[in-house]
């Protein structure tokens, strides 16, 4: 119908190439919406926003009051990511209700939300966080202070600028995405921040927790006395930077201190009261990693292919058959991880394992997959396991359910039938020693029968009189 000229196809190629270049930034898109009280405020964050732009994001700046602001256009997401800077307004207006924000997450949109102790958090965002089981201090504001690890240069009196080492993972099997490669004495400045308390949900992971001795208080009401019953939270229960990843892998990051992202704190030097030398903050790199994580540039996993086959040297050994029997079996999965601009081979965090479940209703097998170096490439790593199918027929699933903090969820299910042994696949009866008496009985019966027939037909009456009478009677 449509004849394509060489010029047209070249144009199409260029268009595609350009699109690929632009979308190389994040795995889910590059349209970023920044919500600020006043668009002029963005000057404070110029380095952070510049870093985002240099990574390929197209940033649109809006105020919550803007009429034209809409997260959805004709039912589709109008933006891929939203970043909320602190706003002084109490609510965020009809365009950013909690319902719309939840829908945005459900539509795989990502949110980076920043808080500040100097402004109260808008109702809409507090409700959204409550939906995710994240609790903010009452009065929607709070200030985290620590009298042990504050920045002595900028807050020697108020202790409200925390100077913290880059966060180590909460557990030893979590990937150290946010601290990997940081210099040993690196310090993060966490100025005038708000801490949150996390509910017991597996989707929530603290990226940065407050130190043991930190606590949160309301500077307006509790500046003199912190009443024992009014303490919001203290110590490591306070999460300063929180990661939430929904089941559909949409992400929300709650950053307790918006000032962390300001140019001032990218350049500042901080020192702890323990008398350490002033060091340049780690904020710029941390901000890069946190935003990259939130906007699906880090910790994104992809399944390239899945293969399973019967692990037997036979003439017929097809890939991905639909039916198996109780036999040895091999399952192979190929995974890649995305980092900023390219896919690379995914390597498991230390102490973590990738597990394969072979399940019918409940798992019959849950086995660790091991890295197969011979099949892996720099772009993809291949994990494999070989095992014996259970002696139970039915419809089974090969299931790789890899859900880990800071990685997008992988849930791969491949359904196969497992049939029982056919009647002619069992061992023959002469192999089974217990059956020998029965086989001997068969032989005896057959021989006896054949000889009996011959005797019955061809036997002359015995010459013995006594026996003759008997035999006559029987015949």
């Amino acid at each position: 119908m449509l004849r394509s000229s060489p010029l047209l196809s070249l144009f199409a190629f260029l268009l595609c190439w350009g699109a690929a270049l632009v979308s190389a930034v994040s795995t889910t898109g590059n349209r970023l919406l920044a919500i600020l009280d006043d668009v002029g405020e963005k000057e404070n964050y110029s380095k952070f926003l510049g870093d985002l732009e240099s990574r390929g994001f197209q940033i649109t700046y809006e105020t919550p009051k803007s009429e034209s602001l809409a997260l959805f256009h004709l039912g589709e997401r109008a933006y891929d990511h939203v970043i909320f800077f602190p706003t002084k307004t109490k609510g965020l207006g009809p365009n950013l209700t909690p319902q719309i924000l939840v829908n945005f997450l459900n539509a795989k949109g990502n949110i980076l939300q920043t808080l500040s102790s100097s402004t109260t958090t808008p109702n809409s965002l507090v409700s959204l966080l409550a939906e995710l089981d994240i609790t903010l201090p009452t009065e929607r504001t709070g200030l985290v202070v620590d009298h042990f690890s504050y920045d002595t240069l900028s807050a020697p009196e108020t202790h409200d600028v925390l100077a913290l080492p880059p966060p180590v993972p909460v557990r030893n099997d979590i990937s150290p995405l946010f601290s990997a490669g940081a210099p040993k004495d690196a310090l993060l400045a966490f100025p005038h921040g708000v801490g949150a308390v996390l509910g017991p949900r597996e989707q929530l992971t603290p990226i940065l927790r407050a130190p043991n001795t930190a606590y949160s208080y309301n500077p307006k009401e509790q500046s003199e006395v912190l009443d024992a019953s009014d303490l919001f939270a203290a110590g490591q229960q306070l999460s300063l930077v929180t990661a939430f990843q929904a089941i559909n892998s949409a992400r929300l990051v709650l950053l307790g201190s918006a000032e962390m992202l300001q140019d001032k704190w990218f350049l500042a030097e901080v020192a702890t009261p323990n008398g350490g030398k002033p060091v340049k903050t780690f904020n710029r790199e941390f901000a890069k990693r946190v935003s990259a994580w939130a906007f699906q540039e880090l910790g994104v996993l992809r399944v390239n292919w899945i293969e399973h086959h019967l692990n037997e040297v036979t003439a017929v050994n097809e890939s991905n058959p639909h039916i198996y029997r109780v036999k040895n079996d091999t399952y192979t999965i190929s995974l890649s991880e995305y980092a900023y601009d390219k896919w690379s081979a995914f390597s498991l965090p230390a102490n973590d394992v990738l597990q394969l479940e072979f399940s019918m209703l409940s798992p019959f097998h849950r086995l660790p997959l091991s890295l197969d170096k011979s099949q892996s490439t720099p772009e993809a790593s291949v994990y494999t396991v070989s095992f014996k199918l259970p002696d139970q027929h039915g419809i089974f699933n090969f299931k790789v359910d890899y859900k880990r903090p800071f990685f997008t969820n992988i849930e791969e299910k491949t359904t196969v039938s497992v049939r029982h042994m056919a009647h002619d696949e069992w061992p023959r009866s002469f192999v089974i020693s217990g059956a020998w008496p029965w086989i001997a009985g068969l032989g005896a019966t057959v021989t006896g029968w054949v000889v009996f027939v011959a005797l019955w037909m061809y036997s002359a009456p015995p010459t013995d009189k006594k026996n003759k009478v008997g035999s006559k009677k029987t015949n």
């Binding site: 108020t158 208080y217 006395v225 597990q355 849950r366 008496p437 006896g448 000889v451 037909m457 015995p462």
Partner: protein, 286 residues
Amino acid sequence: MRFTQSFALALLLLAGVAQAASWGFDDGTVSVVAKRAGETGSKERFNSKTPLTKPVSLGSTDTLKISLTAKDNGQEKRPHQAFVILKEKETGLEAPFPLTVKENGKAVASITHKDLPVQFLITDEPLEASIVLGSFGSSKALNAPVFDVKLQKDPNVPLPPYEKPVRYGKKEEIHHIFRADPKSPPKVISIIFALAVLATVPALFISWVLLGANLNHLSKAIGAAPVSHATFFGSILAMEGVFFLYYTSWNLFQALPVIGAVAVVTVLSGTKALGEVQSRRLAGER
């Protein structure tokens, strides 16, 4: 020499200064108050330098009372932060208990089993209590472990239910337990019984021979109806052969037509052959 002396002096001075500008406390006491009157609880004094060696034991109905006087630079003063932090040593879980502090630095806190998180109640490890005093300004804050608390659980009071929160992570491995293979009795026994069964065949033949069985009419029968006798007996042997092939290699659909064919031959030849046998009987020859 002089240099080291002056250095040491400077250090001392520095230490003095540091000590001067720091938080501390006096009159630290910890007492366990039993609910029932008449029972006198224990009372111990503690300070920030050396923690108590013996753990304080706290019964399920007792109240742990901690009191101290906070001092900034030796002066009685109210700090902004005055916490008792209980810590479970194994998991590192901490629970802060703010002290109620008066203007003059006198601080008290009381803790019962009800105030503790569930995780503390189900563990058997002693809890480490530390005092944290700190406030705004330049004074150095204090974080000192002071004593251990051992929870005495009342066996009559059931522990509150606690379920570990679900966390994404590796799960326990599962290896399917296969059903045991069917077993055969020892081969010796099978062989003995198989031989016993086979022994019945010669026993049968011998008894037949003793009873006078013979094949004397064979030539007569063959002479009278050679074709039918040969085919009839042959078809009976063939039928056994078919059964043998069915057992070793054929399937039912291969065996059935052959069985049919052999059966037809048996019937057709059998009428003639058995007729001949009958004629012999009618002739009184058997």
